[in-house]
Symmetry: C2
Subunit: 361 residues, 2 copies
């Protein structure tokens, strides 16, 4: 069984770790020759030829070449289906997709250029203005009015959202098999700084409606594989979908501590195997290692608290996800306390204060 993965970042690398236990020939296409997944998978040079040679084609990330994915879809090999990739090409498309399924999201409007965006944002009072394409990890998002300079002069369409006061953020990671079987991993509560996930823990509580929204999303085009949906719980109690990630997801890295991770179940699903229900530890926390080179890592101390995963990226740039630490614990309180110690080991004394409370908006 040959799998072609479009994109060779850490998500493909972790998928490849899990694939190495299964009888899967793992091929990766990424134009960047230093992509982490080449440490584990075989490199494809011509993506179209690789699509032809693969039994199944999947993607680890939204920012992949749509033409390659479209070709895989045409040959009946793309999982999940192309529709999910296409809505992710534009935040405006994604919002419209949620609206079409009557899934509540942050109130939004489309602006034709930056000047209209300013007018709409002005009308909302506080707003977040987002460039529709290519954004992730907080890139291309600007709080209005504070960061208005960031999108000044932008000529294309912009997404303008009301600024919502948020109590907490959580995500649901689910897997849907070809047979329609859907398994939900326990919900995770997530903590961001400047739009980048810094740590999370599971399990947390999620209201029934959140599961219902995920069902609507995956049934729309018969999703196959692992999917993540991020939610806001607003201070006024509204449950709002923020984003769908049609792939394995950072908020599901904690599932590596189960015996059927999001990565393994993604592989199982795309190859038409049955979804495996994992045995779950009482609690797991995950802490991202951002911007740190391996040499600066207090490995011994971290390993005493949890399991360190390293992505072997060529260079440690600021904010870059270099690895993560998973912490298994007897309770979420214990997991959070250990996560706090891991955060201060990685980032020093002050940093944890910033991230041990939910994101402000």
């Amino acid at each position: 069984m040959r799998l072609l993965v479009l994109g060779g970042g850490q998500l493909a690398l972790m998928m490849c770790w899990e694939a190495s236990r299964l009888p899967i020939d793992f091929v990766v296409y990424d134009p960047d020759s230093s992509a982490p997944a080449f440490r584990c998978g075989r490199r494809a040079v011509d993506p179209f030829a690789a699509v032809e040679e693969a039994d199944v084609v999947t993607f680890e990330f939204e920012n992949v070449d749509v033409e390659v994915a479209r070709y895989a879809e045409r040959l009946g090999k793309l999982k999940p289906p192309l529709g999910y990739l296409l809505v992710k090409k534009s935040r405006l498309e994604e919002r419209a997709f949620f609206d079409s399924l009557k899934i509540p999201t942050v109130p939004w409007r489309r602006a034709r250029g930056w000047e209209e965006a300013v007018r709409i944002a002005e009308g909302m009072g506080r707003a977040v203005v987002k460039i529709p394409a290519g954004g992730y990890d907080g890139k291309g998002q600007f709080i209005y009015p504070r960061e208005a300079a960031g999108f000044r002069g932008y000529g294309g369409d912009l997404l303008v959202e009301e600024y919502v006061d948020i109590r907490r953020e959580f995500s649901l990671v689910a897997v849907r098999g070809e047979d329609g079987d859907v398994y939900f991993y326990p919900p995770a509560e997530n903590f961001y700084v400047d739009g980048i996930l810094v740590w999370n823990y599971a399990p947390t509580k999620a209201p029934e409606e959140a599961y219902e929204y995920v069902h609507r999303l995956v049934e729309r085009w018969r999703y196959v594989g692992t999917v993540a949906v991020e939610f806001f719980e607003a201070r006024d109690g509204r449950i709002l979908v923020n984003e769908i990630a049609p792939r394995v997801h950072n908020t599901g890295h904690w599932t590596l501590e189960t015996d059927a991770s999001q990565f393994e179940n993604h592989l199982r699903a795309v190859f038409g195997m049955r979804i495996r229900r994992p045995r779950l530890p009482p609690a797991v926390a995950m802490v991202n290692i951002l911007g740190l080179s391996f040499e600066r890592l207090p490995l011994g101390e971290l390993e005493a608290l949890g399991r360190v995963y390293w992505y072997f990226k060529a260079e440690a740039r600021p904010r870059r996800k270099m690895g993560h630490v998973n912490i298994v614990a007897g309770s979420v309180e214990e997991a959070a306390a250990k996560a706090r110690r891991v955060l201060s080991l990685i980032y020093g004394r002050e940093f944890p204060k910033l991230v041990m409370r939910p994101r402000g908006g």
Copy 2:
């Protein structure tokens, strides 16, 4: 941290799977360019240069170039220590090693050439004659008198052992850290056909003295890493050490279903990290996939019963270990029942009967 592994078979491959989660640069030396571990690890061309460049050197198998290991030992990089590798170069040395530690083993004698071996075996009544070097998986072993033709004409020293009537075979897989901490995985009961492990399960019972013998063995030269010791329980009740394997071992493959496998703990130990105590499922069975090509594997049915691990060997030769299936269960009875189904899926209806009872001798 750079690790050099001598030998590139499935044991190195599985070590590499676990290493890929840890920040370890995994280098493999094996003269065979199609060795399975090259699927995962980086290939070293010059073994002596690779020893110089590595932080730690270990081996996956006893049949490695002793000169390379000796060089690594001289540079203070070899773990476990050379002594354990050297005793494994000859079954006669190994027996003498057990005797020197007053560890009971099958009564044995050294024969100078095949004719003396016949005389000694004759005196024992039934015996097993073994060629001292290079034997594993039942190779180079002959039951006397039935298989006497196998060693006829052999000029070197031979090991002659009394034929012992065996009730069951079990093994202890343990890990010793540099700090002297020793962790024992639960004992496994093992089932062989013609000297090849076909399946096993854990946990089973092992008497106190078995643990004591392992302690003596690992303390002799301050072992570091994972070690396996195979035991016979004779019908007359004696506990006899059969073999020491100074490495990760087939009877410990079931530990991949814990959160700290024999492979991970070997890596942790050789890098001076603390041994991790795994959370253990109630029972696990392991079934070897011998001599079967991937095309002939009933993958869907196997995956419904357990987890399939595939070694990606170039060719499926008879008796060759091609992969294995791990089965997690709520009890050893359930594990054994599922193992039986896996055995008949892999080998057909008759095969299980041969191996669901302990080896005859």
